[in-house]
Amino acid sequence: MLKNLLLAAAAIALIGGCARKEKKAEATPKDEKAAAAASSATPAEPAKPASKVVRPPKDPYPSTYKPYPSTPTLITGATILTGAGERINNGSILIEGGKIRAVGAANSVTAPQGATRINAAGKWVTPGIIDIHTHLGVYPSPSTDSTSDGNEATAPVTSQVWAEHSVWPQDPGFTRALAGGITSMQVLPGSANLVGGRSVILKNVPGRTVQEMKFPGAPYGLKMACGENPKRVYGEKGGPATRMANMAGYRQAWIDAAAYKKKWEDYWKDAEKFYGEDKPADDGKKAKAKAKPKDDPKKDEKAPEAPDRNLKLETLAGALSGEITVNMHCYRADEMAFVLDMAKEFGYKVAAFHHGVEAYKIADILAQNGVCGALWADWWGFKLEAYDAVRENIALVDAQPNGCAVVHSDSAIGIQRLNQEAAKAMADGNRMGLKIPEERAIKWLTLNPAKSMRIDKDTGTLEVGKMADVVVWSANPFSVYALADKVYIDGALLYDRADPKRSPRTDFEIGQQTNGFTGGSGQ
């Protein structure tokens, strides 16, 4: 069908990766958190003196997300899958202050006075579902020329573009995903390009602005694509026309990025020395002490000049330094293996291969490299690089020691029932003897994507202190009949299947001919 082809073509344009944080990178998320904190606080500026060293802003469009009000809530009597690998039969979970306060056997968790108590006997509770790969907002509903903002298919390397600048917060798809238990997601640019641009990680909380949806402190991702899509898009527009040119294109981009990165690092080194800031600026005492001799820099010494900013290379340099996770759309086993070597060549890390229809062929290599496979349960066949599918792909990637399987959607329909995708993958894995219990399979939708997206300190499991991103299911979520009854994000009840007033409705849909609004995914 034509519509399907268009969908498939759109699918081509997507995907990112799951990267593990490198030691080098650790400074960055901290910086971002600090920036986010500063931006959400009132004008109170940090006490440290303004640096004279030029540093491009890392977070110029900071999150303005604030959790909505929540009441202390005790959910009791449910089967709880924590996302951390445990299953608690007849368990209880206490949400307070937007965080998870306690999880355990029903009789071991007590609620403060006045807490809302929810009897969840017969129901199941999981962490909020996380989709590592969506184009909600950048390819929203309705799909029109006006809203088609996911692929900057004008040049093969467009690392300068940021998906957040395309996201339409009024996409009705967000509301349907919420009814499917989705609490966080990574919105990626499409896969038309070798390097498609930056992703953005959102909380699935409706906002007037994208900033109101941005996951506080989450790193950016970079979207890259292997194989057929860039060839198809650029084959007659100057290339790449071949897979070898795809590789050449990435490598040249990394070479340029490495040079750019070095230019800035050299500048920072020189400038810090020149301005006497070559000790950590947040260490007040030392900075002061050190600052003295340079208060009066030698007049004949010229101040180091900051390099010109280049948005394209800035993002790539961020990926090289580990600040930005690398999400690689790649289907074929042989191409993934080359990408892993290329990552070593340039000293970066691939966070996840997205789609990876052939991941099972190199599941051992993926695991050895600590790379996740963000995969479908059974989509296949829309093109030759997606021909060699097996229904056990996810389970086989998961089965490797240190294997990391993630169930992703890449679809505004699929994102609404990622639990069913995991169920199918689990069932097929079990049939071949892999013995995957629900408490393990749920990680494919929660902890594993959270790790790959580097938001696992905040969400992805039902562990004390984490954001209370929680789904109460009507039944075992590994069943086609299970529906999300209640979805909490940071403790706020943002979806209740029984109460249409607790279902979001986007501006686009409101006031259209009455269509018997039923709430949530039913709309």
């Binding site: 069908m1 399907n4 309705p142 029109t144 097996v390 199918k424 018997g516 039923t518």
Partner: protein, 431 residues
């Protein structure tokens, strides 16, 4: 040489198909969804012989020489019937050579294209979907630059050469925005063009020789008009793709004006005109998971569509436009399960992927339910067939047990153990 081998293999297959119908099969002690007046039979037995269902009931005695399959704890249904696909016409969607489902550019012929001319009984999709319980499918050409795609056929998924159950099962055409893009980018054009085709086909049918000698001002080919004659004479149904309530009302008028046999494909807003569709006996092949306003013709898209249509008395069947109309026909059961989760009665959901498609294409006397005399298309499931964790464990087509192996199971066997062996992977898991 390769050619010769192919022909040889085909000959062997044909022989197997011809010879394999003899042995009776008795499936015992299953939960049997007959999809007939007999309803659900607990601890039920199904006897197959000579390609057909011979008996359905309890404690059926095995005839001499019968293969007996103990199916306690299992569920038996008729084979899944995919109401819409491009099976055998499309191996890979985005590969020109491996996709015959539609013509490109301004290819002049449309309605006269016939699925049976290119149906590939060796397509890998057949065994893959069959392992998911699918035994019959409508396969259809899809519209290229004109609103008509061509003549669809009902096929079985046995893989044999003689797989065509019914040629010319339906004509396929698009209205709605898909039609509009082929007719001056306006729905006005789509309705005007289809009426003109119908009028011309009737004129042609009335007196072909005279018609051919007349001066004409359109680009309709005689072949296409001839192909539309059974449609305008009401002998062949026509699939009309449309979603909005407005377009669906236009289709109801078309049906009334021309007295044709119409099937709606899509119908995301069909629930808005459910009463009229039921009254005019128009079935709807729909996606029960469609719930997004993907365009302005889908604003009323809702997961309640299937249940509302069924309640109003509209005959519904399912198709799977998300994730591969054809590659994943095996997910029709999941779609049906989701329809149940959103209010469709269970038996109605099962009907939408078994007896209803058979009825839509005039084949309910032969297919779609487990009744004596009907084709031996039977699936044994290891649980609730609409549940995502359930799989088919045995599939019969025309009474013959089908192989459950396919390209995907072979690939899994080849790579399930990644330890280096004495020979490369290319030596593992061969046929």
């Amino acid at each position: 040489m390769i050619c010769a081998r192919t022909i040889f293999a085909a000959a062997v297959l044909a022989l197997t198909a011809a010879a394999a119908t003899a042995q009776p099969v008795l499936i015992r002690n299953a939960r049997v969804h007959t999809m007939s007046a007999a309803g659900v039979i607990e601890n039920g037995d199904v006897l197959l012989n000579d390609g057909v269902v011979v008996q359905v009931g309890v404690e059926v005695a095995p005839p001499a020489g019968a293969t007996v399959i103990e199916a306690a704890g299992k569920v038996v249904t008729p084979g899944i019937f995919a109401a819409y696909s491009t099976l055998g016409l499309e191996e890979l969607s985005l590969d020109g050579e491996a996709n015959d489902a539609s013509t490109r550019d301004n290819f002049p012929l449309s309605a006269s294209l016939d699925a049976t001319d290119a149906f590939n009984n060796t397509s890998s999709l057949i065994a893959i979907n069959r392992a998911g319980g699918v035994t019959r499918a409508l396969t259809t050409p899809e519209p290229g630059s004109k609103i008509f795609g061509g003549r669809a056929a009902v096929v079985d998924l046995s893989g044999r050469i003689a797989s065509v159950t019914l040629a010319g099962a339906a004509q396929n055409a698009v209205l709605g925005y898909q039609g509009a893009t082929r007719t001056g980018d306006s729905r006005l054009g789509a309705f005007a063009v289809i009426r003109e085709y119908f009028d011309e086909a009737k004129a042609y049918a009335a007196n072909p020789r005279d018609y051919k000698s007349r001066a004409r001002d359109n680009d309709m080919t005689f072949a296409d008009l001839e192909a539309l004659i059974p449609v305008v004479e009401g002998r062949q149904p026509i699939l009309l793709a449309a979603d909005s309530a407005v377009d669906l009302r236009g289709i109801i008028r078309l049906k009334t004006d021309y007295n044709i046999n119409v099937i709606v494909l899509g119908g995301t807003e069909a629930w808005r005109v459910a009463g009229e569709l039921a009254a005019t006996n128009i079935p709807v092949i729909m996606d029960p998971a469609a719930n997004l306003p993907g365009s302005f013709e889908d604003l009323g898209s809702t997961l309640a569509n299937a249940a509302r249509l069924q309640k109003a008395g509209v005959r519904i069947a399912f198709f799977n436009p998300d994730g591969g109309t054809t590659h994943n026909l095996r997910l029709l059961t999941q779609q049906a399960g989701n329809a149940v989760a959103h209010g469709l009665p269970y038996e109605a959901a099962l009907a939408a992927i078994t007896i209803n498609p058979a009825a839509i294409y005039g084949l309910s006397g032969r297919l779609g339910s487990l009744e004596p005399g009907k084709a031996g298309d039977v699936v044994i499931w290891d649980g609730d067939p609409l549940e995502v964790t359930t799989r088919a464990v045995a599939v019969f087509i025309d009474g013959r047990a089908m192989s459950m192996q396919n390209r995907q199971t072979r690939m899994r066997e080849r790579y399930k153990n990644l330890e280096r062996g004495d020979l490369p992977f290319a030596y593992r898991g061969q046929d």
